[in-house]
Symmetry: C3
Subunit: 213 residues, 3 copies
Amino acid sequence: MNIIEIMDLLGTIAFAVSGALAAFSKRLDAFGIVIIAFVTSAGGGTLRDILIGVKPVSWMTNMNLVYTILICVVITFIFRTWLLKLRKTLFLFDAIGIGLYTIVGVEMGIQTGLHPFICITLGCITACFGGVIRDILVNEIPVIFRKNVYATACIFGGGVYFLLLKVGMLEQFVFPISAIAVIAMRVLAVVFKWQLPSPYGKAGGAQGMQTRF
Amino acid sequence: MNIIEIMDLLGTIAFAVSGALAAFSKRLDAFGIVIIAFVTSAGGGTLRDILIGVKPVSWMTNMNLVYTILICVVITFIFRTWLLKLRKTLFLFDAIGIGLYTIVGVEMGIQTGLHPFICITLGCITACFGGVIRDILVNEIPVIFRKNVYATACIFGGGVYFLLLKVGMLEQFVFPISAIAVIAMRVLAVVFKWQLPSPYGKAGGAQGMQTRF
Amino acid sequence: MNIIEIMDLLGTIAFAVSGALAAFSKRLDAFGIVIIAFVTSAGGGTLRDILIGVKPVSWMTNMNLVYTILICVVITFIFRTWLLKLRKTLFLFDAIGIGLYTIVGVEMGIQTGLHPFICITLGCITACFGGVIRDILVNEIPVIFRKNVYATACIFGGGVYFLLLKVGMLEQFVFPISAIAVIAMRVLAVVFKWQLPSPYGKAGGAQGMQTRF
């Protein structure tokens, strides 16, 4: 098991818990919970694999991943009352998930021989797309449009990854540091309510959009 | 023409009729009807092919399938008043469709050398995903969240398939019997209003979710 | 750079501008604008590549395309007040986009050795699917259901392509003429408010559907 696989597994756990908690708070039935946890967790990697042409897509040949998600759903279910009380848990698991998945996506892009910009995009897709499908399925505004420092944190972390690589840092350090960069930016953005500069002046931006939908 | 191809064709017919009837009841125009019938019918298989890496996806090299869907749309259109009166027709065609497609998906998973759990998942995707895209396109709650003994019937049929295979039944019997298992469970679930046990106590479950969306 | 690549680039520009304008009028933030422009522009081609099995999908190995979209977003942003005043600009760029993309899709289908019907379908998908994802993301009725002479124009242009090819016209003329056929039909349809014949009698059709959604 190399570092990518370990990070991928940790990301899977974080997103499976985050997905299951989201499904609980929507009061979906047992089957709906498993689907939402699975989609949140494996959706981004699936799109990444389809786009770069890994076949069959990773989770199909990786039963550990499938078992991990199922076990996470059961554990999350048992501790749901406790987890849902700590409202911030959902958010924190999600932040850890995007941090780990971003860098997994970037590394797979590099292995496929893609341009750094495309690698970062692939990192973003791996990290954010599971949440986007989840939101489309439960009929909410996709997460990337709601919280503007979400995908931005992934792009930032992807940039940090290539920067550290360029200054000659060893790869086993580059991975965790750039994953932490994503998580830190996401957490700081939520704590301090960071917003991207609005292109429409004061009144506009994300809030304006939310009411329009 | 082997048994998979025959079953696939029958499933295509069942879903094309079911999709066209759904589009009629939404009063879509001629073009919308063809798209919805096509998506309902070929959507699940398309995702299955993309996930396991069949290229190009089956319907692109199988004109019979395309002609079948178009002919079904025309025939369904001619008899629409009669078919829509029998409200249960739509449901029955859909049940037959998921029964046949589930087992087609399972068999393709086996041919790709995947784990039985993944094969059953692939059967579910083949059977349910066409309906999910149809529902997203016409802006309804995806079918797998509305009717909880829907995907469950597919999983049950997939289980029956591997069980019968394990006890040594001949493959030409395993296929129709497990397809009938899916159809029977789906029909019985609707007739007797089966529900998955709610994880939220009495008040919750599918109904609670429907009003939330 | 051959004719397909040139046409693809022009289509990319047209759709990137059209997507960015749509995002401005929805008041999305800077990040949302780039995503919508990118999805509108590259979404159709991405699905086409996935369906026929090009791997990795084209835009991943074509940085020119990525830069083009980003430059278009910036230029569109600078001239947005001026462009949004001319309401018809958005529509015209969209019409040019579907014209060019339809024929790019048809040609890629031919190169993959697919049946003419499938090639035309592929042209439609390339042209329309970017707009469909855009509409799903911003929570609108997908464009192919709203405007019934939209995909129809693509099908018409695809038919013109094969007709001209059959009568022996040189390929370098077939491409632009059939692209213009799509654009002309789309523009004429909007100007003269063409509708597909409704299968439900006078009251029905697209308008009936719009109010139902």
